[in-house]
C-alpha cells in the first residue's frame, strides 16, 4: 500500500458503529474534524488541516493487532482488546488516554443456579471439586483467553480449561459447551437473560475506548514524532506526549 508522500503518522480508528461515531465526536469536541477521503471506499480518512496524518479505518480488533505489529503509530480501540492481544503491554504499547466512551466490563459469570458460588474463591472450590468428581476440568468459554488466564492465575485457580468462543458466549452454560464464561457486559442484561450472574469479585477489567501508541515496529522518526506532538497538543495531551516520548 503506497502512502501519500506527506504522510508522517498513521492513526487507526474504528471503522463502524457506535465506536466510530463516538470517536468522531471526541475529536470534534477537541477541535479536530474527521474527513472521509474520497474514493477510499471508507477505509481511509484525514483530519482537516493535518495532511501529515493518515487516518485508517479498521475494525476494533484489527486495530489492536495493527498497533502490536507496528503497522500504525496510534490507534483507538477498547482496552479489553488491547490487553487481550498483548497480555504484557510493557515495551509494546503505551495507553495514552482513556476516552470516556465504549465502556464495557470483562467479567466472570456463572449460572444463577450455582447458589453456593458468589466469589472467585467459591469458583476455585467448585473447579477443584468438579475435577475430582467428573474427572475432567471445568470449562470456561471466552474470547478473552489471555485475560482469563491471567485473572484465574491471580486468583489461584488452576483446575479449569479455556474453551475458545467465537460468539454468543453467554449461551455456553445452557448449551452445555462450557460451565463458566468470561465475557464483556455493559448493563448485565444479556447475562441475566441467560440465567447468569457476575461473581462479586469477578470483574477482570473495566474497559473503555483508549488511545494507544505502538512502541515496537512502528517507525517513530523525527517527522512522526513532530506530527504526533502537534496532534497531542491539539488534543490537550501534552503530558501524555512527554510520557510517550520517554518510551520511544
Amino acid at each position: 500500500m503506497s502512502k501519500p508522500k506527506e504522510t508522517k503518522l498513521v492513526i487507526a480508528i474504528p471503522s463502524k458503529g457506535r465506536l466510530k461515531e463516538a470517536c468522531g465526536e471526541w475529536f470534534a469536541a477537541r477541535g479536530v474534524v474527521l474527513e472521509q477521503e474520497a474514493g477510499s471506499r471508507g477505509y481511509r480518512a484525514r483530519f482537516a488541516g493535518m495532511p501529515q496524518i493518515e487516518v485508517m479505518l479498521l475494525s476494533a480488533s484489527e486495530i489492536a493487532n495493527a498497533l502490536l505489529a507496528g503497522d500504525v503509530h496510534l490507534g483507538i480501540t477498547g482496552e479489553d482488546l488491547l490487553r487481550e492481544a498483548a497480555p504484557e503491554l510493557e515495551g509494546r504499547l503505551y495507553l495514552a488516554a482513556p476516552m470516556g466512551f465504549g465502556f464495557a466490563d470483562v467479567v466472570v459469570a456463572v449460572s444463577r443456579a450455582w447458589i453456593d458460588v458468589s466469589t472467585m474463591a467459591d469458583l476455585d472450590d467448585v473447579c477443584a471439586a468438579f475435577a475430582a468428581t467428573h474427572k475432567k476440568r471445568l470449562r470456561v468459554a471466552t474470547k478473552y483467553a489471555e485475560l482469563t488466564r491471567g485473572w484465574f492465575a491471580r486468583n489461584g485457580i488452576a483446575d479449569y480449561r479455556i474453551v475458545p468462543s467465537a460468539g454468543a458466549t453467554e449461551g455456553a452454560p445452557a448449551a452445555g459447551t462450557a460451565e463458566v464464561i468470561v465475557d464483556i457486559t455493559t448493563t448485565g442484561a444479556t447475562l441475566r437473560d441467560n440465567g447468569l450472574k457476575i461473581l462479586d469479585d469477578g470483574v477482570i477489567l473495566k474497559s473503555q475506548a483508549t488511545l494507544a501508541a505502538s512502541l515496537r515496529g512502528a517507525v517513530w522518526d523525527e517527522d512522526a514524532r513532530a506530527a504526533c506532538k502537534a496532534l497531542f497538543a491539539t488534543l490537550g495531551l501534552e503530558a501524555e506526549f512527554k510520557a510517550l516520548s520517554a518510551l520511544l
Binding site: A113, A128, E179
Partner: protein, 367 residues
C-alpha cells in the same frame, strides 16, 4: 541464549555423551529407558494439568482437526503409559529427550533436553524419596558436577499442618491446593483469621432447596442439583474463625527459608507457639537431611514455601543448583497424578528431571 537452540557437532556430541553416562547410571539402578513421542494428544496435558502448564504448552491442529501438543515434559506421557499398561509395581522408568515450553520472556530456549527418572508404586514413601534423591545426586556427580547445593521443601508437611487446624474440610483443601502460590495462602489465612468469610446462605436444607427453585431456568451448567445443594449446605454451616496467633504462626512458618538446621529450629519454635504437633512430618525431613549428609551433600536449604511451577507435586520437593544458583535438576513426589490420568487406585509416584544442557554448561564452566 537463543529461543531456537542450534547444536553444532561438538555441542550435540557432548550432550549425547553426557546422556549416555546418565542413562547408564539409571539403568544400573534398575531404571529402563522409555521414549514417548514428541507429539501427543493435546488433551493429555490440557485436561489434566492446570493452566500454568497449558500456558506454556505449544499446541497445534493436525489436518483432520485434532488438537496436538509438543510434550512440555515426559512425566505425564510416561505416567499415562503406566496407567494404560498396568505394570508390576514398583516400576522404574528413565528417559532422555527434548521438551518444549513457551517462555513469556523472549530469548529463553523454547526447546531443551531433559533426562530423568520416575519411580511408580513404591509403597514405602520415605524409601522412594530417598532413592530418587540419591539418584539425582549421583547423576550430577556422574556427569562431573560436584559443586552444588540443594534446596528442599515438603508439601506434605504443610498438608499435615493444615490438617491439624480446626477448619472445615473444604477450607483445608483450599489451603493445600494453594500451597505453591506465594502470597495467596497468607491472604487466605489472614481472611480466616479476621472472620471475613461468613456465608449469606440460609442454614436450613429446605430453604437452600427453595432458593435454588427461585433461580428459574438458570442452567445447572455441568453440576448436579445435589452437588450444588451439598456444597451450599457446607458453606452455610461453616464457622470460620482461626485463632489469630495460630494464623500468624503459620504465615511466619511459610516464610521460613534458611539453612536446614536453622529452618528446623525455627519451625519447631513456631509450632510450639501455635500448639501444633508435626513430629512425624519433621522426622521425615530430618531423615532426608541425614541421607544427604551421608551422601556428602552438606549445603542444604529448606524453604517452607518451596512449591513448584508444575502443579502436580504433593509431597517432598527438591532442586539441585550449581554454585552460581542455576537450577540443574528438580523433582519430587506427585502421588495424585496417576489417578488423574485414569488409574483406578492410588499409585505413589516420585521422580526427578535433569536440565542436561545447563548441567553440561556448568560442568564445562568448571573444567
Amino acid at each position: 541464549m537463543t529461543a531456537f537452540p542450534y547444536y553444532g557437532p561438538a555441542d550435540i556430541d557432548a550432550l549425547n555423551m553426557q546422556a549416555v553416562t546418565l542413562l547408564k547410571l539409571f539403568k544400573a539402578k534398575g531404571y529402563d529407558r522409555q521414549e514417548p513421542s514428541v507429539l501427543q494428544p493435546a488433551a493429555l496435558f490440557l485436561d489434566r494439568s492446570g493452566e500454568e502448564i497449558r500456558r506454556r504448552t505449544f499446541t497445534l491442529t493436525d489436518p483432520s482437526g485434532s488438537d496436538l501438543a509438543l510434550r512440555p515434559d515426559l512425566t505425564i506421557p510416561i505416567a499415562k503409559r503406566v496407567v494404560e499398561s498396568g505394570p508390576h509395581f514398583p516400576a522404574r522408568i528413565s528417559y532422555n529427550g527434548p521438551v518444549f515450553r513457551h517462555e513469556s520472556k523472549g530469548g529463553k530456549p523454547v526447546q531443551f533436553f531433559q533426562a530423568g527418572v520416575e519411580l511408580f508404586g513404591e509403597a514405602d514413601k520415605a524409601k522412594g524419596d530417598a532413592e530418587i534423591l540419591t539418584l539425582a545426586v549421583e547423576a550430577l556427580r556422574a556427569a562431573g558436577c560436584t559443586d552444588f547445593t540443594i534446596r528442599m521443601g515438603d508439601l506434605g508437611l504443610f498438608g499435615a499442618l493444615v490438617d491439624a487446624l480446626q477448619l472445615p474440610e473444604h477450607w483445608r483443601s483450599r489451603l493445600k491446593r494453594h500451597f505453591w502460590r506465594a502470597g495467596y495462602v497468607e491472604t487466605l489465612l489472614d481472611r480466616i483469621g479476621h472472620g471475613d468469610e461468613t456465608s449469606h446462605l440460609p442454614q436450613d436444607e429446605k430453604d437452600i432447596a427453595a432458593l435454588l427453585e427461585t433461580q428459574g431456568d438458570a442452567p445447572l451448567a455441568g453440576r448436579t442439583r445435589a452437588e450444588v445443594i451439598t456444597r451450599a449446605r457446607a458453606e452455610a454451616a461453616e464457622v470460620l474463625k482461626l485463632d489469630g496467633n495460630v494464623a500468624g504462626a503459620i504465615t511466619r512458618l511459610l516464610d521460613i527459608s534458611a539453612p536446614i538446621a536453622q529452618a528446623l529450629a525455627d519451625i519447631r519454635a513456631l509450632l510450639k507457639t501455635a500448639g501444633i504437633n508435626l513430629d512425624a512430618g519433621l522426622a521425615a525431613v530430618e531423615a532426608r537431611v541425614a541421607l544427604l549428609q551421608k551422601l556428602g551433600v552438606d549445603r542444604i536449604d529448606f524453604n517452607a514455601h518451596f512449591g513448584r511451577s508444575m502443579e502436580y507435586y504433593t509431597g517432598f520437593v527438591f532442586e539441585l543448583r550449581s554454585k552460581y544458583g542455576v537450577e540443574l535438576a528438580g523433582g519430587g513426589r506427585y502421588d495424585n497424578l496417576l489417578e488423574l490420568l485414569g488409574a483406578s487406585a492410588p499409585v505413589t509416584a516420585v521422580g526427578c528431571a535433569i536440565h542436561t544442557e545447563r548441567l553440561l554448561a556448568t560442568v564445562k564452566g568448571a573444567a
